[in-house]
């Protein structure tokens, strides 16, 4: 039975209140109430005209906060992969959704935790450019529209928001992360706004009337640096519990084992599953399907069809079942909801196709923009669920590279203004400092996204026979023997043949006895 939104919120409030009461009863104090009432702070009793003004007030007391933010990926949008030395991060890589923020910063930095990143001149050392409110808003009224380089909407009551700051929540993280790829649930498949107030079936930990985890319950932070990375994820963990991420603790603890340990299946009849965990990521069984919250996730994006306008000259838009399936600015999309992910061997090594590297088509005809390492034999891989996103995007057939299109903005070069790929890419590649031949073609690309969220209750985990069968979920996974999938064909052929032979033999023998018996009676 589906609860209505109101019922769920009411349930959440009730649950929250009873939790508070319980905690108060046991400890005499309540953890959830802060010792500081920000409405009473003099620094916040002013009519702020801009975001940076608020930040100046914040860092008067929180003197180290902005400096800490400056060191994080959330601020730099840059990440140096320590394993393969690739320079990654949002500002460097390409994808097959909106392709890249490069040359489009003013638009894309709506999701940057700063103010004013509109081009390469942005000052990354400026403390007042740090946006405290986007993560610490508790009012739900703060928002940053695309095109303003990260500045909030003019209508936001900054004084109100600043006085109501709180810890991060599913809503604040979700404001960007639920909408990756340019829309609700578009990018990840395991993250969309259904996780804002989720039911137990959707996410057993975030269950709004149950455990009520926020993102930060697992993604713990040290000095504003949040644990968890899809550039260097940990695919297999050998250590046991380490819930408390301490200062200077390098490792990422945003994973199941941090709380559940190495042998989480305690019941005797389920203990065999602990052994499965040596080869299979927890997520593989415990996230049975993605996009389960009623929001479809996008699975393909074809940029090559973009550019169609309607009668009045506006970009054509088409929707099916509420999902945008065509947009003149972006092309054609398809979606999937409540869908099984794909499965791969994954050891945590991720290699990206960078802008200066040649695009190479794989055996399926796609250019992998990110390539996940892993094999059954390397001793550090496990079978992981991934969402594979397939697209068609512009590339340079002469240079053999993917390209940066300048899509956003109102200037003459922007694709969304004049729908001219050559102009848009010339401007984009110039901005990115990369060579462009002037020729535009389209190429099929794919990206993989590891699935980690929307963890289902144990009773909804993937059943044994969904993999232990001939055409199960792991039918394409090589390198392991799966009983029921991998029986020796030769043994079976010989075995059943001899069984049949024996059966025929005894039947003939018996028939012979009957005949001879009748014969002798005659």
């Amino acid at each position: 039975m589906k609860l209505s939104y109101i019922q769920r919120i009411a349930g959440a409030v009730l649950g929250y209140c009873s939790l508070l009461l319980l905690m108060a009863a046991f400890s005499g104090t309540s953890y959830a109430v802060s010792t500081a009432d920000h409405t009473r702070f003099k620094e916040l009793q002013q009519d702020f005209k801009s975001g940076p003004e608020v930040t100046r007030a914040c860092i008067k007391c929180h003197t180290e906060a902005a400096k800490q933010i400056h060191k994080t990926n959330h601020w730099t949008w840059e990440f140096l992969n320590p394993d393969n030395k690739q320079r990654l991060g949002k500002r460097n890589i390409l994808n097959n959704f909106c392709i890249t923020p490069q040359s489009n910063f003013a638009y894309c930095t709506a999701c940057h935790i700063g103010y004013g990143w509109k081009d390469e001149t942005f000052d990354f050392t400026s403390e007042e450019s740090v946006d405290c409110l986007v993560c610490h808003d508790s009012t739900g009224t703060y928002s940053k529209p695309p095109g303003k380089a990260g500045h909030p909407k003019d209508t936001v009551d900054l004084k109100h928001v600043a006085q109501q700051v709180d810890k991060t929540s599913r809503d604040t993280c979700g404001a960007c992360h639920f909408f990756g790829g340019g829309g609700n649930g578009v990018k990840h498949g395991d993250m969309d706004d259904s996780l804002a107030v989720p039911e137990r079936e959707l996410d057993v930990h975030m269950d709004a009337v149950g455990e009520d985890f926020t993102c930060a319950t697992c993604h713990r932070h040290v000095e504003h640096d949040v644990a968890g990375s899809r550039y260097t994820p940990e695919a297999a963990h050998s250590e046991d519990y380490h819930i408390h991420r301490k200062q200077f603790e390098e490792e990422n603890n945003a994973h199941c084992r941090a709380c559940h340990g190495n042998k989480p299946h305690k019941k005797v009849d389920k203990s065999r599953l602990n052994n499965h965990a040596k080869k299979i990521a927890c997520q593989t069984c415990h996230i049975p399907r993605i996009a389960r919250g009623g929001v479809a996730t996008r699975v393909t994006w074809d940029w090559s069809t973009a550019g169609k306008l309607d009668e009045s000259g506006n970009p054509l838009q088409q929707r099916v079942d509420g999902n945008l399936v065509y947009h003149g600015k972006r092309g054609t999309f398809t979606y999937a909801a409540n869908v099984e992910p794909e499965y791969i061997w994954f050891n945590g090594e991720v290699r990206y196709l960078l802008l200066n590297e040649k695009a190479v088509v794989n055996e399926d005809g796609y250019v992998p923009i990110n390539d996940f390492g892993g094999s059954p034999d390397d001793g550090k891989s496990r079978i992981w669920p991934v969402k594979v996103f397939r697209g068609v995007q512009p590339y340079d057939p002469v240079m053999g590279t993917l390209v940066v299109p300048h899509t956003t903005g109102l200037n003459e070069d922007a694709y969304w203004k004049n729908f001219d790929w050559e102009k848009a890419i010339t401007a984009g590649m110039l901005s990115a400092g990369q060579p462009f031949s002037g020729k535009v073609d389209f190429i099929k690309t794919q990206m993989s996204w590891p699935i980690n969220h929307m963890v289902a209750p144990a009773e909804d985990a993937v059943g044994c026979d969904e993999c232990h069968s001939k055409n199960g979920r792991l039918k394409d996974i090589e390198g392991i023997y799966i009983p029921s999938r991998d029986a020796s064909v030769r043994l079976d052929t010989a075995g059943w043949f001899i069984t049949l032979l024996t059966l025929v033999g005894v039947l003939m023998h018996g028939f012979g006895r009957i005949v001879s018996n009748l014969w002798s009676k005659r």
Binding site: R272, C464, H468, S469, P483, S484, G512, R513
Partner: protein
């Protein structure tokens, strides 16, 4: 003139029939785990198979104890004497109502061919099925016990299934051969009541 003589004692019959049931359950659930058909669903098939396997282990502990304390293990000492006669009987004699070349007694309840068949069962099929079966049951411990460098699940599963096929063939032959007694149901009745009709005048071989 025949008399009814107790051939199969009470424990022996209990052992036989519970083992028969367990083997049937093991075959049915085992070939499902193997992937031959879909009946209980994989998880229930595994649970059934494991339960039946441990039950059979328990039964065997009693059976082995019984065999040694009663000396019944001697029933399985092989002999090649008259094996040729048994083979000839099944191939020819049985059709022309020739006399059975073997006389069942309390001390020798199995004919020579039977002895060889059971010996093969106890010496080849059973060890293969038990050793691979235990390896399978304790797959989770291979790492801890250092076995993972010697064993691969694929091979263990192969020999376990191979032994299962041999067991299946044995079962079919067994089910047929019990109809070859004095009457079609004679052996069956004997295993139920324990008593077989025996000609006391026949010579001890």
């Amino acid at each position: 003139m025949t008399v009814r003589v107790m051939i199969f004692k009470r424990f022996e019959r209990f052992w036989h029939w519970s083992q028969a049931l367990l083997i049937l359950v093991l075959l049915i659930s085992g070939f499902e785990i193997h992937g031959s058909y879909d009946l209980l669903g994989f998880e229930d098939a595994v649970t059934t198979h494991r339960t039946a396997a441990w039950s059979l282990v328990t039964l065997w502990i009693f059976a082995i104890f019984w065999h040694f304390t009663t000396g019944e293990w001697k029933q399985y000492i092989p002999t090649l004497k008259k094996v040729d006669a048994m083979v000839r009987y099944y191939l020819l004699g049985i059709f022309i109502r020739a006399p059975h070349p073997f006389r069942q007694t309390m001390l020798k309840k199995h004919n020579p061919l039977q002895r060889l068949a059971y010996l093969f069962l106890w010496v080849v099929i059973s060890p293969m099925i038990w050793l691979t079966g235990w390896a399978y049951l304790f797959y989770a411990k291979w790492d801890d016990w250092g076995l993972d460098q010697y064993l691969a699940l694929e091979q263990v599963a192969f020999f376990h299934a191979l032994a299962a096929f041999m067991m299946l063939v044995f079962l079919i032959a067994h089910l047929y051969l019990i109809t070859t007694g004095r009457t079609v149901m004679a052996h069956m009745k004997a295993m139920i009541t324990g008593r077989e009709e025996i000609d006391p005048d026949a010579e001890e071989e």
